[in-house]
Symmetry: C2
Subunit: 406 residues, 2 copies
């Protein structure tokens, strides 16, 4: 079991004005290859702090990865700090210099000496080219360990990581991917899942974690050795079969798209309180173009009556947030865009708009598949953003469960 | 300057299957009150590791905050670890027990002894009620420090933090909010902003960080003492006035909505490659209901021609990803939904669909305000998700700049 450390670098991370997403990306990729992050921390843009944290981590782990602080501006100090941690100087790398010059020339940017700071890297480094930016990644050795330093701009980091770092790691370490599965369940409370698993008793050597996220319960099963993780996962899945949605990265959107494809159905959406988020999440799945036709964002009632052809009487009598309106929205968009299925959501996301009858967090979700119409009322806790996110996720879970049981 | 430590707890965070957003939330709120996080790390669900990390942090900082691991399941070990770190036992708290019983009864959940584990907290704790869940937050003292432990479900944590923890901290510490501003600029390269600021020379005692995010350049200016931070911020803002968009939490969406309100305009959107995300981001701003009418998600061309009334000839001759189509989409939705302004986006988010002429990442954004029509072509690097996010942000920056300079 090869352990490692990850540092995300940037003052903006420590003060919370930017959320670090790089270390979770790196951790996830490493874990799936059989490298285990045991130390993950955020570090400020301070040379001494970066240098000493990296040095300590290198003395404890054979692999340390940092993200951030490789930019051209005065507050980017990671390269110098790492050189210091490894006890070497920085030197000009012609390959990096050429890359920077060519890239900036192509973008019509006038090159100054700050740009070229990015071509100075610790002596003896392995270079990792950056296809999307000027900052090269690099790996520097010391203390029988290697520190790999990557830029903090997420899509630049992802590309370098996948194109260069992963092949490098596979070459350097003898990696064995562990057994690892996330089982996703919908429409069931966390405590019920917990009881079922407790009654099974978890075999020695298997780690099992239960997470709840927006109405989904995710059971994570890990087996670093040969403790029967796969068999145990099958057992858990079987015990909770009725609520099983999918596994691993199969988010409700991915599962819904997969089921749509299997059925050869097309889908449209009508959205009120989510304002387009549901369509946004569905279209985040690549390859959805043949299945997802489009939608109507009927934020104001006028759009509901004029575009979705809901009678003014329905809106007046039952209100825009009602079962009747949700079903009419789903019917309206299905007819308008000529699709096989449709999903409609209408609710009160807050902070204002709640009433004693329909408090903030009240949401109606209607799902139509062919002739079948289902509508459910939800009451979500939390702020505007949580209510909207949970609405989207619940709509997709509802839709996926409907398709699965057709 | 009161320093503190933050730990986000959960195996799923270390292995990267869930991204930690709690510590950045906590860090941001603490920073704005004058408490400075200097140690932020993720910890596994291991009692010894949590206990020793918390104890070390308590010996170094007067305040330690943890999030996560207070749930009812077998892998939730934070409470016991913290009791151990503080050298006390856990005890049953009747207030917490009553809260759990009442809440679960209301939700028709059958109570078992695992649920009641959440009522056992370190002896001598201060309690922080949870309005949205069963897990109470608590504060435990040792080593002249206090550790405050909160549940990991974000909206539960936010509510406890704002309703109970902030007042508690204000009472316990003498807090002085530092000067702190984020200046947001659009349509300008990072290196230009850097050059301007370098030429000014940053006064001693002021920290200045430059971040780039999706086409926005954010200059963060911090002054913990009395070093003229406010004056310096004014100078930076003035030097880059033309590109200035807004400050602090004024995301492009917030700025766009603010400017819409000032002009008394209504807005609609037509979205192709973003599939609803743009509308989703606009409606994330509370109070937008009077200004945002709705939109058409014209993912398939049929929706562009049938709903937005774009001539089939335009689509055939120029393609769905073209200036002509983007402008026609913006005109179409503006007329259809009777609004003063409209934004339309069409592009190739990838991974497939690119051509030599229009590679993946090619996006057209059209903005109409009254009679004025602007359309720009962009070429975004990165994966599908980055291209879509940058499209949304760039559309909002474009729209905000247009309204600002009307």
């Amino acid at each position: 079991m090869i352990q490692c450390a990850i540092f995300a670098i940037g003052e903006e991370l420590l003060e919370g004005s930017v959320t670090d997403t790089n270390s979770s990306y790196i951790a996830k990729r490493l874990t799936s290859e059989g490298l285990f992050p045991r130390r993950v921390a955020l570090l400020p843009d301070e040379k001494e702090c970066i240098s000493s944290s990296v040095e300590t981590a290198m003395r404890n782990y054979p692999l340390v990865i940092t993200a951030g602080g490789l930019g051209p501006t005065f507050d980017d100090l990671t390269t110098e700090a790492i050189a210091q941690a490894c006890g070497v100087k920085t030197a000009l790398y012609e390959e990096a210099e050429k890359h920077i010059t060519e890239r900036l020339t192509r973008l019509n940017v006038k090159i100054n000496k700050n740009h070229l700071r990015q071509a100075f890297l610790p002596e003896g480094s392995v270079l990792f080219p950056n296809p999307h930016g000027t900052a090269y990644g690099f790996g520097a050795e010391a203390y029988n360990s290697i520190v790999i330093s990557l830029p903090g701009v997420p899509y630049e980091m992802y590309a370098i990581f996948n194109e260069s770092v992963i092949p490098f790691l596979k070459n350097r370490f003898t990696l064995k991917a562990p057994f690892k599965v996330d089982l996703r369940f919908g429409d069931i409370p966390e405590s019920d899942v917990d009881s079922v698993i407790r009654n099974m008793s978890i075999p020695e050597g298997i780690r099992c974690i239960i997470n709840v996220s927006m109405g989904e319960v995710v059971v994570k099963i890990r087996d670093d050795g040969l403790s029967g993780g796969e068999r145990f996962a099958e057992k858990v899945k079987k015990a909770l079969e009725y609520h099983y949605l999918g596994k691993d990265d199969e988010s409700p959107a991915v599962i819904a798209v997969k089921l749509l494809k299997e059925h050869g159905f097309t889908l449209s959406v009508a959205e009120s309180c989510t304002g387009g988020l549901l369509g946004g999440v569905i279209t985040s799945v690549p390859g959805v173009s043949e299945l997802f036709t489009g939608g109507i964002i009927s934020y104001k009632n006028k759009v509901k009556t004029e575009q979705l052809r809901i009678s003014e009487d329905t809106v007046r009598r039952y209100g825009a947030v009602s079962e009747e309106c949700a079903v009419a929205m789903a019917k309206g968009v299905k007819i308008l865009l000529h699709t096989d299925c449709s999903i409609a959501v209408t609710g009160i996301a807050g902070p204002d708009g709640g009433t004693p009858d329909k408090p903030t967090g009240t949401v109606y979700i209607a799902v139509i598949t062919g002739e079948s119409v289902v509508c459910k009322r939800f009451l979500f806790s939390g702020d505007r953003s949580s209510v909207r996110d949970r609405t989207v996720k619940s709509a997709l879970v509802m839709f996926a469960k409907t398709l699965k049981n057709l």
